[in-house]
């Protein structure tokens, strides 16, 4: 079985936010919910880097550990999904998640939380594949159509990669070698990367 992973290359990400937009559009995500976001570290300073962050589909997911109703499950592809019929919207997964992936639509007064929403690796949810219920709750199921997550598919610099962990690490390893181990050259050499 494949182990699905995201990888974002900090030396390539140009903070264009296309992945964020693509994700929102593909899954028709409601206002205020962002399954993916781009974070820029040291903005405007030397060593500025951006990374696109969403659910990283952890092998030992803290959200699943802390969930009071145990609504998370890991698919055979290593994708962490959750059941919105069981989720009670307590917000604990958001506190436990290192990446801030779980999102909550504001439902009523004082921003009381609705059912949690997060990146599904474009793999839908526990509902029947391609059913309208699945689309409404979890968004498009691209994986069952043999497609990879849209955010990675349309990344213009190929900074964001999605797919089998072995394939991704091979790609990244080649990149590092081609960069000539930029650590020793004090920075990034675009020609080599």
């Amino acid at each position: 079985m494949a182990q699905m992973k995201f990888y974002c290359d900090a030396e390539r990400c140009i903070e264009c936010n296309a992945c964020v937009t693509a994700c929102k559009n593909e899954h028709e995500i409601p206002w205020g919910v962002n399954r993916r976001r781009v974070v820029t570290i040291k903005d405007g300073e030397q060593g500025e880097r951006s990374l696109s962050v969403a659910c990283m589909h952890c092998a030992d997911a803290p959200c699943a550990t802390v969930c009071p109703v145990d609504c998370f499950y890991t698919t055979g592809d290593g994708i962490v999904l959750h059941d919105k019929d069981i989720c009670i919207g307590c917000g604990y997964c958001f506190y436990a998640c290192p990446f801030g992936a779980p999102q909550f639509p504001e439902q009523a007064a004082f921003a009381s939380r609705g059912k949690m929403d997060k990146c599904t690796f474009c793999a839908g949810g526990p509902e029947e594949d391609h059913s309208s219920n699945e689309y409404k709750k979890y968004g498009r199921n691209r994986l069952s159509e043999g497609k990879l997550p849209l955010c990675a598919e349309m990344c213009s610099t190929h900074a964001l990669l999605a797919g089998d962990a072995d394939v991704l690490s091979d790609i990244y390893r080649k990149r590092v070698i081609n960069r000539g181990a930029s650590a020793f050259e004090w920075g990034v050499n675009q020609l080599k990367s």
Binding site: N34, V38, L51, V66, Y95, A96, S112
Partner: protein, 373 residues
Amino acid sequence: MLSLVLTLAFGLQLSSADASNIPPQKPNVPDGVSALNPGSDLWREVRRRDGVGEFNEVNQGVLVKDLLSEIQRSRQVPQGISQVNQVDSGVMINAKGRRWAAFRMTTLASYSGIALAAIFVIIITFYVVRGKVPIEGGLSGNMVKRFTDYERITHWTLAVVFLLLAITGLILLLGRPLLIPLFGKEAFALLASASKEGHNLFGPLFLVSLIMMLISFARRNIYEKGDLTWLLKGGGLIGKGHASGGFFNMGEKTWYWMVILIGLVISISGLILVSPNFGQGRLIMELMHIVHAVSAMILIVVSVGHMYLGSIGSEGALEGMKTGYVDINWADAHHDRWGKHCHEEDLIVSAEEYARMQGQPADSAEPAMEQGK
């Protein structure tokens, strides 16, 4: 041969020396250019590590202290920025989440379960050993007014709201290990969802009834002379004979101030948790969750003792909160200074009069009440 020995000795000395004493080597690079790997530089920034020697500080020590220092640090040095305008969206990695999750699922859940089981075992053992504490000389039938209707409504509102909050809170904390194996995920999700909504709904009511409690009972719960003697005599729980007490004894006063102070802590932390729309980040939420849960567990455990002493633990005690009247013998036994005051002021309602007050319909009961006073 000699050089080999020297090298070995030198090597051993180096390895035994404290690693932090070795000054970090400064790379020979022009000023202003970082010779560090940009990847590790980024990682250091993301994991909030300032440099060599600080690695050990991550995820160690007391969790609350760890959270507080991280909150302070994130105020001073924000991690990053994001075009997505949300709480904590600029934070790439929240390093404390995992520690908090581990605390909630192992430390908090297990200690709460143990504390609950322990208090019930203690109470049952105490009941078996000591039994119901009787009133010396039995009930006289002559009553004295202890609580007004307003005070009783305040007490029972707080009690009911507290119990609902305690039960729903415990369902959310202990439901996954204890109830999911029994009911399955789907059924438990319904219960947990109702618990969450109920907890959020009754939470603000708890604060309101707590303030009512503060207003109506605070004056009589101020510590006074004689409270120390009560404490030294063990409140009459240990050994024979009753300890001297006023309208409220020292134990009741302490319970009252526990409810007020811990209750306020629970209410404030709960309000912060329930309304995530004031920009409070995950670190604050994690901290507030710990404060909320730990203080609530303390109050729940002590409340079991209060419920026991107010009902089956002590004869005639429940009457006061049920009807507002208590037997004068009970008052003399448990609150002798107040009982003496009742005798002196002639506040005692005779058994016949009390029966008439209870038996008559509400509209004609009013004059009898006046007479009783």
